[in-house]
Symmetry: C2
Subunit: 660 residues, 2 copies
Amino acid sequence: MTAAPGKDIEGRQRVVIEKLRPASDCGRFPVKRIVAERMTVEADVFTDGHDQIQAVVKYRTRAQRRWREVPMVPLGNDRWQGQFTVEEIDRYCYTVSAWVDPFLTWRSELTRRSGAADIRLALELGSQQVQQAAARARPVDARRLSHWAERLAGDGDLEARRALALDSDLLELMLRHADRSFASEYAPVQEVTVERERARYGAWYELFPRSFGGLRGAAEKLSYVSEMGFDVIYLPPIHPIGSSQRKGPNNALAAGPDDPGSPWAIGSPDGGHKSIHPELGTEADFDAFIATAARLDLEVALDIAFQCSPDHPYVREHPEWFSWRPDGTVQYAENPPKKYQDIYPFNFETDDWQALWRELLSVFLHWAERGVRIFRVDNPHTKPFPFWEWVIAEVRHRHPDTIFLAEAFTRPRVMHRLAKLGFSQSYTYFTWRNTKPELTDYALELAHTEGSEYFRPNLWPNTPDILSEYLQFGGRPAFITRLVLAATLSASYGIYGPAFELGESEPREPGSEEYLDSEKYQLREWDLERPESLRDLIARVNRIRRDNPALHLNRNLRFHEIDNEQLVCYSKATEDEDNVVLVVVNLDPHHRQGGWLTLSLNALGLTGDEPFQMHDQLGNLRLLWHGAHNYIDLDPGISPAHIFRLRRHLRTERDFAYYM
Amino acid sequence: MTAAPGKDIEGRQRVVIEKLRPASDCGRFPVKRIVAERMTVEADVFTDGHDQIQAVVKYRTRAQRRWREVPMVPLGNDRWQGQFTVEEIDRYCYTVSAWVDPFLTWRSELTRRSGAADIRLALELGSQQVQQAAARARPVDARRLSHWAERLAGDGDLEARRALALDSDLLELMLRHADRSFASEYAPVQEVTVERERARYGAWYELFPRSFGGLRGAAEKLSYVSEMGFDVIYLPPIHPIGSSQRKGPNNALAAGPDDPGSPWAIGSPDGGHKSIHPELGTEADFDAFIATAARLDLEVALDIAFQCSPDHPYVREHPEWFSWRPDGTVQYAENPPKKYQDIYPFNFETDDWQALWRELLSVFLHWAERGVRIFRVDNPHTKPFPFWEWVIAEVRHRHPDTIFLAEAFTRPRVMHRLAKLGFSQSYTYFTWRNTKPELTDYALELAHTEGSEYFRPNLWPNTPDILSEYLQFGGRPAFITRLVLAATLSASYGIYGPAFELGESEPREPGSEEYLDSEKYQLREWDLERPESLRDLIARVNRIRRDNPALHLNRNLRFHEIDNEQLVCYSKATEDEDNVVLVVVNLDPHHRQGGWLTLSLNALGLTGDEPFQMHDQLGNLRLLWHGAHNYIDLDPGISPAHIFRLRRHLRTERDFAYYM
């Protein structure tokens, strides 16, 4: 009926460990870190009465058997903290263990004791404790401890013996050989997924190879992309495109004979998710594309969209993976009254779901074996959550350095669940956050709420699906504003080009977010050399990103007050405050805006006593400031943003030259 | 290495259930409710894609095998809610179950379909679903469902069949017979401890029987206590007191031959924790005391202090339950340089801890069998946490209506842990919260943070250990202020009398919180009939508490702005807003204070359009207010507080008389 002491309960396990952080959903999911990052683990740790305790963080990779340990230190109010560094791309386990340490209690009481009899008795008791520790220790330490025990119990001068008892060498020995038989350990053990840096930090460029003549033509444009400073080149699906129900330009229901169709209508007699569209090139072309990219320090990201055109080989080979309607046709995607007859979704409730899962896994593995380690997953929120948790784990089991970006434009809880299940990054609502309160609230949510432990943002000003109203109406300044915001609010961001740098801003129709003559349905010719191209500005922004490690992080974002609703100001600093970046953006693409800024000086590592220089990396302006209150104005016609780097040390007459 | 689909994973279990609330420490501990209260359970519930879902709260008592269910409703943003009522003093289990419901999805799509072919196909599919449900249903419903299936698939008019398909009777049948084979269920199952109302709401009075001639004399004073409107009469330990190391008046190290000693130095040759001190009376006197109390609607609370005087029979009979020092003496309580030689703590780390636990359990059971159902536990934070969880469960297993009050004047985490482990109530920091920000912050923390799910406060203006500085220096108004605050901020409160109502305010020495000539060490004579006694005022406050159910609750506390730092204003309302109490207290015992109040009208169930009457239950003043802004002033010489009851309906000329 109730628990039995000695059987279900060990009554001498007296230390309580509560509220271990970080933890996602009570330990159901791992949190996330990047290789070489520090894990700071905290917990409430305490025991009954006045006894002193020791606590450690235990950690290991999942494959290791032996735990490593780091001591925790009390922060006050029974909160303890310990830190370790995650060194490998792997999944680590961690927990907290703590125990009552009678020697620490005894030692602290000894300092406060008065009266010879009392001290003598205490020393005798202490000697016993040390002798017991000797029995637990290996020979070398055991001998040292026995020696200490003898000296404590000896009949030398009392105060001299007390001083001996308080010796830090003895303390260190005793801490090492503490009796941990009744140590408590926090359950369940927590996990942290450790990924490579690109999982958090990177600049992405999306491009349709077919507009450049396929993979070979696109490979020739990679230097253009690389010169702009991008890290990842992301390709929409490169597979054969179905011809049944193919869509024409601007999503027309009927395609003409030369219309190429949507790359997301995957599968034709030429093959499915593991094949390359013949119109894009050969497998050799693909390998060459990857190799060229690698030479230019670009990593290729592939789009994985788990859906089929009616012509996909799966439809014929695995009819059991689709839903069939009473009239004997396959259920296409629909959201009545809308119909997407060119797309057959998989039926994940099929009795044959296990085979379906294994086949979809093999798609990832196929491309991973060709060298792809970044996957941008299309609409993951329309496939079962258990599938993603499983498939991501399976891929990482074989290729631990694989990065997954979730194209989860969906409701907040769903986005977060996908992030918890293993996606390295996620698309966000940034695209629709334009005003100062919207941007501030959302960026703070991404950077500072519990979700920041597992949800890493990737901000996109535009995508082939989304030409935001802000870009439609704001002209060139709007493009620059959104670029700077994306590139500095988040460690990862991306643009869909060349539509972005060429300022493409015409929607298919008023009120639509679709591009007119979208590349999703037709080939486009882009004049990359147009003088108004933003390519140089983009290159500059990406250079600033590379030069400033503060911009490689997300959780260091701080906003600063500025008394104009069209101006936002925020900063990022590295932990050592060696690199501090302050960004000011004018959100109004049409008017010059000015305002008084109230800096949170301590967020910038400043005390307020010193002058400092703000060096605009975008326009090369240098401002000499002193204190929190400073005036800023920004003319969108010139530049809608400053990206300042803080120069803390200003030379004075003593240096015989101004500014570093 | 990784999880296997079909074995470790059921891929068709597509609904996610997250963030179930209430939950204490991820379900490690039960939350708490009172019999007949409503449990409101919430969770994030969602699935992939656009399919519709159903969700239910499942609940049962621990002994029941069958779950009961209540449907959940969506609150928006994927948050769902369901409610049930806890009907018994018991421990209940609850969780959430949810599943994808294809019929709901189908039904919603059907309303949006156009085109005859499309609708016809959909009706055919719907008919199949209904037929499948028939196969799951018992005969009566199965027949009804089959009939529906036939009508849907029939060849009647299409729109007529669509209307049929949307019939609410069909919906109800289909919801009842949903396919739940792949339902998700939240794990772990959560628990809620359901106690009787006194666990949350009650007025306590502490009294030393020996100052009234023992149990018989004290029994004669019970009508005095009852007339003041108290619910619980709480006695310090009533056991034999040791004579070794006995303390004299004002904690003097040596006691005189007639000094009675501290009731917390438990145990003498006359017996221990299960005996009654011969100087207090016999077991029959005790039974009579309980019976008299019961006749006066007073319940007796006993003090359980698990520690021993050196003369306690346990020391002789169970030396293994104590710590022995190297000199062969028992380790007394100490916090060097302080020594408490009259107190031997148990050594809970003894190898014989299981026997010790069982013996201590038998102490509770001994008094429970004599009719005691409320225990005030002395210093629970100096005994191991696992012991409390076990012993409280064991006592409740036999006597489910037992209430435990933790005298846990200790650090916040420790107090909360004890509350989680099963203590019904706890002492608080109220005693040291005197200023407006202190009181506001602390009261809000008690009422509205996560802890309010398991931590129930009992506020004490004074105890035999604590005569606060505020009472020492504030005179009569300070006593009234603290009484009103305790009695209205918390559903449970208590005073140590007659010291309180007689305004005892002399400390043992300046800077001390100990009473001069404390009853802890000596007998006191109290003149209960002194004209300045607060007994009538206390009676009035307790009457107000009984008359106003809003004051029986804790989590309904709301503060209102008032522009004077010496004035606090707060309200409590029942859920139906039938009973609304507004309290205004002047914290300055020396000066009249006035200020403008800004009521949060919606917290009072007011719209702002109507006039309303504030009827002071303490002074019988009636104020006619309209809107949020009202002026209040309080002269501590007259009364430092108002306890208003809101009279919402004001009669007008249409009623032919003013005010109800």
